[in-house]
């Protein structure tokens, strides 16, 4: 399920949460839920970055070996 969210959306949501925390717009009651969500988003982003990096490297390696 987590794979279905886009990196861009995940990152934006993460940034929103970060700025909400920074601006004090999150109550203590909401904090742990928001932090949990942020952690989830961080994981998603990391995984997306890693997989993209892998994909891109594979493709480029193949391309270069052809050249």
């Amino acid at each position: 399920m987590t794979k279905e969210i886009k990196y861009t959306d995940a990152f934006e949501e993460l940034q929103q949460i970060v700025s909400d925390i920074e601006d004090g717009e999150i109550t203590v009651d909401e904090l742990s839920i928001k932090v949990k969500r942020a952690a989830e988003l961080i994981k998603i982003c990391k995984s997306k970055l890693t997989s993209t990096e892998g994909d891109v490297n594979d493709i480029l390696k193949e391309l270069e070996s052809d050249a």
């Binding site: 990196y7 990152f11 993460l14 949460i17 970060v18 999150i26 961080i42 970055l49 891109v56 480029l60």
Partner: protein, 460 residues
């Protein structure tokens, strides 16, 4: 016919004509003529047809003669100056001698032809072609075609034996990058009188199979500078300009550009250069493709690095801010706890001080009140002796006034001033108490009591 008429022989007449003409046309003349056919014979002599046209109609015609030695001289100069041999169907300025031969008849013996005029004529033809193509809007037509990204399939117009062709093929076929070209030769004359028609014919052939080609090249090499005037010819130039595929020329010469070269898609000085140009086109295609790999690699990495950095920053600040948030919240809570303490103490202190103030007030005001009361009592106390003395004094004065009045009224005091009281029987004499003669009356003075007897009584 009259009897006396003299009869001449033909020879006599023709000789007379010859004599007359020779007498009449002794000098040389410069004549502008169109040379229709050169008619060079094996002997080396030429017998060109000379004529003049007006509105397409022949208005004058005569045979010409160029003796072999004259022809050689004239042609050499033409090739040198005009870069063309003496050609048919051109207008020339020639120096002629009118000659009449008894058996060959009238002819113009050509002793010289002005190459500069011919050059001018060629120039004129060139201008004419340019003007026409411009007028027809064809001058840039070929150049306006899209050049294929890869000029891979090439229709070659050249001569099989041409060095230019082999130069060109050598360049494109032996390239070290493995670029694959497909060429198909359409052989043609590349110079001289037949060139134009030959090239046009092959262009027509190419046009029929143009779907197999990307471009057309016309290459010629090592042919020198002579015989290129065909490339100024209107028909050929029009065929090139209006051709549906880009035509690239590489006809290898150093003189002025011909019109054909001008209207072609691109002109290269040599076939080799043309080949290089095509290789360059492949390079132009290949380089961005090769670079694309590098660029994609670099920028993808950059993008990912950037994304990682951005993401790293966000996740760092997320951790930091979250911790800070908790610290702040804790701090605020602690502050409220402290404030509660302070405010409660202040509140109690304030209330206590209010009570103490009231205690103070109750003391001072009670004491004040008692002191006031005491003062009032003291005042009253001080007033009493005064008031009572006043009362006594007043009473004493009243009493002494009365005493004084009484004193004044005391009869004894009246007697002292010389008055006296006369009584009869202890009573004063009045209306009710009258005296009669003979009565004894007593007269009282301050000092004496006199007793007298009435001797006379007079009424007032």
């Amino acid at each position: 016919m009259a009897e006396n008429q003299k009869i001449f022989t033909l020879k006599q007449v023709v000789s007379s004509i010859r004599k007359t003409i020779e007498e009449r046309y002794q000098q040389l003349y410069w004549v502008k003529v169109e040379m229709h056919k050169l008619n060079r014979f094996a002997s080396g002599h030429c017998f060109p047809e000379l004529l003049q046209k007006e509105d397409g109609r022949i208005v004058a015609q005569i045979s010409g003669t160029i003796w072999s030695h004259n022809y050689e001289r004239i042609n050499k100069r033409f090739i040198h100056l005009v870069k063309e041999p003496l050609k048919e169907d051109t207008t020339l300025l020639m120096q002629v001698k009118v000659s009449f031969h008894e058996t060959y008849g009238m002819s113009l013996q050509i002793v010289d032809i002005d190459p500069n005029y011919a050059l001018g004529e060629l120039q004129r033809e060139r201008q004419e072609t340019l003007k026409k193509l411009t007028k027809e809007g064809l001058i840039n037509a070929n150049q306006h075609l899209n050049f294929p990204l890869l000029p891979k399939r090439v229709a070659v117009i050249s001569a099989e034996s041409s060095k230019g062709l082999s130069d060109f093929m050598n360049v494109i076929e032996s390239n070290t990058w493995g670029y694959q070209f497909f060429t198909f030769l359409f052989p043609a004359y590349l110079q001289g009188d037949n060139a134009s028609g030959s090239i046009i014919k092959q262009l027509d052939a190419i046009k029929r199979v143009k779907s197999h080609f990307d471009i057309v090249v016309i290459v010629r090499g090592g042919g020198g500078e002579v015989g290129l005037s065909c490339y100024n010819e209107y028909q050929l130039c029009k065929a090139i300009a209006s051709f549906p595929l880009p035509i690239l020329t590489g006809i290898g010469h150093a003189t002025n550009l011909t019109v054909a070269e001008m209207v072609s898609f691109r002109n290269s000085i040599t076939p080799t250069e043309l080949g290089d140009f095509l290789i360059q086109a492949f390079h132009n295609f290949s380089t961005p493709v090769t670079n694309a790999i590098k660029s994609i690699k670099l920028h993808s990495k950059n993008k990912l690095t950037e994304a990682r950095a951005q993401f790293g920053t966000s996740s760092q600040s997320f951790k930091h801010l979250t911790k800070q948030y908790l610290t702040n919240t804790n701090h605020i809570l602690v502050q409220h706890g402290r404030k509660l303490k302070t405010e409660v103490r202040e509140n109690l202190f304030y209330n206590r001080s209010k009570v103490l103030r009231l205690q103070e007030h109750s003391i001072t005001s009670s004491k004040y009140r008692l002191r006031q009361e005491q003062e009032t009592i003291e005042r009253v106390k001080r007033n009493i002796p005064i008031l009572y003395k006043q009362t006594l004094n007043k009473t004493a004065i009243e009493l002494s006034q009365l005493e004084h009045s009484i004193k004044l009224m005391d009869p004894l005091n009246v007697l002292k001033r010389g008055y006296s009281i006369t009584t009869i029987n202890g009573k004063t004499i009045g209306e009710n108490n009258s005296v009669e003669l003979g009565d004894k009356i007593t007269t009282k003075t301050s000092t004496f009591k006199l007793v007298s007897t009435i001797t006379r009584k007079d009424n007032d």
